[in-house]
Symmetry: C2
Subunit: 147 residues, 2 copies
């Protein structure tokens, strides 16, 4: 059994995400593993051409969301000295994109919070659930607690 070598944090910017980041960082230290972080912004459909004026608004909104996500991730990454190459922010389906990033980058452990952004306690978040069902590597679900 190989030691963990590349650990991917699935960050959601909720008030609890620091717990996920801390745990992942702690494990990465113990294993001397590479640490990466990703944030997937749930995709939304761009309005139909029939509503052409809306398209630019949508595109502006997407750009703004992407910029905001990248800035947020960069702030977190700075604390852990993560190079830009180890940070991913993209639009998509959170669980599928996380799994896909993990596969493409030989991640052997994904660390994810165990409930969603607006999660109710004891309810597994849909992202965590999707990652757990589809991942080809180990997944650590960090139980998020009220602080």
């Amino acid at each position: 059994m190989e030691n963990y070598q590349h650990i991917l944090i699935a960050a959601d910017f909720s008030e609890h995400s620091q717990q996920v980041i801390n745990r992942a960082q702690e494990i990465a230290e113990r294993y001397q593993a590479k640490l990466s972080i990703c944030h997937i912004i749930e995709d939304f459909p761009i309005a139909d051409f029939a509503y052409e004026p809306m398209i630019s608004v949508d595109l502006d909104m997407r750009d703004a969301m992407l910029d905001s996500g990248k800035k947020h991730i960069a702030d977190i990454a700075k604390k852990f000295d993560l190079p830009t190459a180890n940070q991913w922010v993209e639009f998509g389906s959170p669980s599928l994109n996380i799994v896909s990033l993990a596969n493409d980058n030989k991640v052997d452990l994904i660390v994810v919070g165990s409930h969603g952004r607006h999660g109710i306690k004891l309810l597994l978040g849909s992202t965590a659930n999707g990652v757990l069902h589809h991942a080809l590597c180990d997944v650590l679900a960090v139980r998020l607690t009220e602080q």
Copy 2:
């Protein structure tokens, strides 16, 4: 964030269970954490009194299954110097009993294989799924691979 102090292996005696045990043991070593192991035998209803002759057969079968499970766990536990107090074999609903044992014994990490005993690849096992949905602590789902 506290270090892991008590790690519980949910063992299912499948041909892949050694991967789960190895990973749990490795993490326990890195964290200097206490390691425990449990095996829950899926409960089945005892036949109705109308079939009285069947009851003793059922009870004999339960005893035999319990003995066999305990022997199997003891064999595994011996390899890791786990005292009898850190081994649990019981009848019940696997995921609920695992979560309940974890709660009662202040377990902070449950390690479970990511597919069931006769699991199809990429399908999360029902035990892993149940544990992930109900656990009050962190859960590591170890992706089981063909060897």
